[in-house]
């Protein structure tokens, strides 16, 4: 794809994000679009958000579970950028009217104390460089009509990131078994989903190592203090006005979020 085409698609996604009006799948319009093209479109989409005053605060890893990979037709994860406008804290109410077609998923967030520079990063390096982990929700959203996404669509669309909610509980991955820690998601007081760390690439640390290596190849920095959402451990949970979700990670603690308003789609 030419730079003009890349920019046009990135701008279209940014406009869709601003107007909360989704666009048709990229793959339907550009059948030969590659994943590399898609990351360049993502770069443009995110650059527009940064130009509007947002800053990068971390990364998210997506497509980490086998069912999602099969759905997208890939056998590797993807990543997107977390920006300052996406940040929510434990107990916040997320305004759904800012989003198009949101769904929630429960994850483990990593906060680094050292830079991680790939290639060559292993899961052991990730544990070594991690300050702490926290329970969190990612509220994914798609700027693509009806979530009709393949891997190129979601990558271009900043890995379908909407907003995220970081739990206050902090855990030390040298004390907590992040691979076998259970994840329980309750919606309005009833268990809605359960999962476990191993659902993410065998262990969330594997997903973070993958990200460090991928970013290393692309020359994108991965800095101490950044928040990394390591990938969903639960099924996608639809949310509407008035819903409350709590996720609890065994041996770590909980993260709580409420929802108000009505999403665009």
């Amino acid at each position: 794809m030419t730079l003009d085409q890349i920019n046009a698609h990135g701008d279209a996604l940014y406009d869709a994000f601003l107007a909360r009006r989704p666009v048709p799948p990229l793959l339907a319009r550009v059948p030969d679009i590659t994943i590399v093209d898609a990351y360049r479109i993502q770069e443009r989409f995110v650059a527009r958000r940064l130009a509007a005053g947002e800053t990068i605060v971390g990364k998210k890893i997506g497509a980490t579970s086998r069912p999602v990979q099969e759905l997208l037709g890939v056998f590797q994860p993807d990543f997107g950028m977390l920006t300052s406008a996406m940040v929510h804290v434990d107990g916040d109410t997320v305004d759904l009217s800012r989003l198009i077609q949101p769904k929630a998923e429960a994850e483990l967030a990593f906060v680094l104390k050292d830079d991680l520079k790939g290639p060559g990063v292993t899961a052991m390096d990730v544990i070594h460089a991690t300050d702490h982990v926290r329970p969190c929700f990612e509220i994914v959203d798609s700027r693509i009509t009806d979530w009709a996404i393949k891997i190129q669509d979601t990558v271009a669309d900043n890995a379908s990131c909407g907003v995220y909610v970081l739990g206050e509980a902090k855990g030390d991955p040298r004390r907590l078994d992040i691979t076998l820690a259970g994840m329980v998601v309750e919606k309005n007081g009833e268990v809605a989903a359960t999962g476990v760390g191993a659902a993410v690439q065998g262990s969330p640390a594997n997903a973070v190592a993958w990200l460090a290596n991928t970013l290393g190849e692309l020359g994108i920095p991965f800095k101490a203090g950044e928040v990394i959402l390591s990938g969903s451990q639960s099924a996608l949970i639809p949310v509407v006005d008035g819903d409350e979700l709590v996720c609890t990670v065994g041996g770590l603690g909980s993260c709580r979020v409420r929802f108000s308003g009505k999403a665009a789609a």
């Binding site: 076998l180 820690a181 259970g182 994840m183 359960t194 065994g250």
Partner: protein, 267 residues
């Protein structure tokens, strides 16, 4: 059970003999409700009770109980609001990491569960999860090998309860722990078959808390005129979906805080 026994004593004995024959010869039979469409849940437990008495008379030892249909999804699917229960005998027990013969089973599947060993007697009705935890000596991880003696693993609640709630084999192992030292609601579990992850979940998948399933089991026992004595081994219900196994397969269930328990299967 909000139902009463409708079958005659002769019919209960007939059905018990049919189930016992299917269990011992490992053959699939039609659902019992095909011949007795009016069968109630109370009838089913009358058959299960008769089956237990026959096995005990043959020298089998009752070691405990299991709860089945403990996920909200399964209960909704079966149209019930309580789990089913089944009895466990010494003949169903298999050692950890042993080779389990499959030729004497029909279509076995494995589930991983949190098992409880009781240190005090429990008696319903009105048993709560707090009562269960107070009476629990320790918990340990377990694999249950379920087997339906009905064609194609297709059954209704009445038939499956009469078939001892699909109980077949079980393996306890891993690391025993005091329940007080753990959050029994959030234990993560990974079930691997032949080195690949086959199913995953956390213990809250069982009625929100595994002790809740044991409390319901004790209350069902009360309706059957039974109690749960100290020393009983009780399985609280599958955390994950059941995974089919065949000869040559190896399964291992890895639990947060409880270690792992495994078994392999031979023809």
């Amino acid at each position: 059970m909000s139902t009463s026994i409708t079958l005659s004593r002769e019919d209960v004995v007939r059905l018990t003999e049919r189930v016992e024959g299917a269990q011992k010869r490992a053959v699939a039979i039609p659902k019992l409700t095909e011949e007795y469409p009016g069968m109630t849940l109370a009838d089913s437990y009358a058959v299960q009770n008769e089956l237990r008495q026959r096995y005990l008379a043959q020298g089998h030892r009752l070691v405990g109980w299991k709860a089945g249909l403990t996920s909200k999804a399964k209960m909704r699917q079966m149209g019930v609001d309580v789990p089913s229960i089944g009895f466990l005998t010494d003949r169903m027990a298999r050692p950890e990491n042993s080779a389990i013969t499959l030729s004497d089973l029909v279509h076995p599947r494995v589930e991983c569960e949190v098992a409880f060993v009781m240190k005090a007697d429990l008696k319903g009705p009105g048993c709560t999860s707090a009562d269960v935890l107070a009476a629990t000596g320790y918990v340990l991880p377990a694999i249950e090998i379920i087997d339906s003696r009905f064609h194609g693993f297709k059954f209704d609640l009445e038939s499956v309860v009469a078939d001892n709630s699909s109980s077949a084999r079980f393996v306890g192992g891993g690391r025993a722990r005091y329940a007080d030292d753990l959050d029994l609601r959030t234990l993560g579990v990974v079930l691997e078959k032949n080195g690949e992850i086959a199913a995953m979940g956390a213990s809250a998948a069982v009625l929100g808390h595994p002790a809740e399933a044991i409390a319901m089991l004790v209350n069902i026992l009360a309706e059957l005129g039974e109690s749960l004595p100290a020393g009983s081994f009780v399985m609280s219900g599958g955390i994950t979906e059941a995974i089919p196994v065949k000869a040559g397969d190896h399964v291992i269930a890895r639990f947060q805080e409880l270690g792992s328990v495994g078994a392999r299967f031979v023809a």
